[in-house]
Symmetry: C2
Subunit: 236 residues, 2 copies
Amino acid sequence: MPTVDAETLRGLPHFGGLDAVARRRIAAGSRVRTLERGEWLFRRGSEPRAFFHVLEGCVQLFRSTPEGREQVIHRLRAGQSFAEAAVLTMSAYPVNAVATSSPTRLIEVGASSFLQVLDEDPRVARAVVASLCRRLVRLVQRVDELSVSSFEARLARYLLDLPAAGDGDDLVVRLPLPKKDLAAFLGATPETLSRQLRRWRDAGVADSRGAHITLHQPDVLLAVVADIPVPSHLPV
Amino acid sequence: MPTVDAETLRGLPHFGGLDAVARRRIAAGSRVRTLERGEWLFRRGSEPRAFFHVLEGCVQLFRSTPEGREQVIHRLRAGQSFAEAAVLTMSAYPVNAVATSSPTRLIEVGASSFLQVLDEDPRVARAVVASLCRRLVRLVQRVDELSVSSFEARLARYLLDLPAAGDGDDLVVRLPLPKKDLAAFLGATPETLSRQLRRWRDAGVADSRGAHITLHQPDVLLAVVADIPVPSHLPV
DNA sequence: GCCCTCGCTTGACGCACGTCAAGGCAGCGT
DNA sequence: ACGCTGCCTTGACGTGCGTCAAGCGAGGGC
């Protein structure tokens, strides 16, 4: 059970400004955990004893219905923290969490030491408030997207938000996750994703070869994102 | 422009524990506003100069697409605060806000005095963090609901969450808002709402007369909420 | 009384997506 | 080589829900 170096905590957004004493206190209540792909970190409804910070790999937060349909709420990569809110309300984790790559290394910060430091140091409180706010705004956006925009629009937005390389007039992006997971993240099925990419290929808008997707007409995608139906002067 | 009595602030969740000095500071940066039904409080994208606390009436937060489709994010009634997150990030209101009843009275708390007190008093920070967390959890629930559950399930859950009066074996609830607004809140259209109520009436599950809805078989609705398809031993 | 507006209800119709089922194609172990 | 097992793709089909359009009933003004 590897413990956490107090120095390591300096890198975390919440604890960057802390003095050495407080940092050592947090470090004492923390440890590093390593998970394999597919391993569960916590389940929805269980008691939140800790929040987490991703050092390496990827964690997916999701909910699921009794029949197995799942909605991915969030994907966390290196440098991001999560589950602070659950710790702060001290009620229950509202989602499930599993690692989606191997190995995934995390810092697990114990609830009690975190709450103590939070009460004593206004700077931590400030940092936590800020990060909660950012998350809140992002969620508001997702509520909006999931209910009013089509799958096409959600996918277009996702692709345009990826880091892209130019290639002549085209943009080329690389999917950072398998297509079936991307589909789940966008609240749809792999079949729907596949069909949308097919339609774009037929229309000459975008081509996909494996995880590499070439956007021939990014402006069309931009119009889709804005939810303005594209004037169909396109060849069949 | 009526100013705010420092005593009034004692009633607000964020400021209940404050000392008189801090409260007077907040009061100086605040005022009471009265809106008519339909009046705008702020628009998405504008700069957040204040957050609000509802004293009376109702405020609706929503987003809308260029073509006019709207998604209601939240409805606030007396005793609730909103837009703290926008103030804290200091970027832009992520939603629109309008009053939906007349009169709607609000306390408008100026951003600068709020931020100052937040930095100085850890108790305020704690209260704000707690309220943000609650909101975050509720939003996570909505992301989940909007994407994985059917309209029927969302409506069932909404009805079961209303305060109900018993009447024999039946439960009777009163819709606190017009049906078209309810439909929007649940991310659907009035037609869809109408049809669902019709189906329940035909199945003998629930009857609606205006805003009064009688639930003859609450257990069926409970099953719907759990997303377990109801075994159809029901008469046509 | 009449007419207007608004909220609600119904029907007809279309489309986006989910589900089920059947391949194709890669990688990988034996 | 073989057959696994996953991931992706495609087709056929069903359905939830939005859109359009019509009609209904309850106010409210004149």
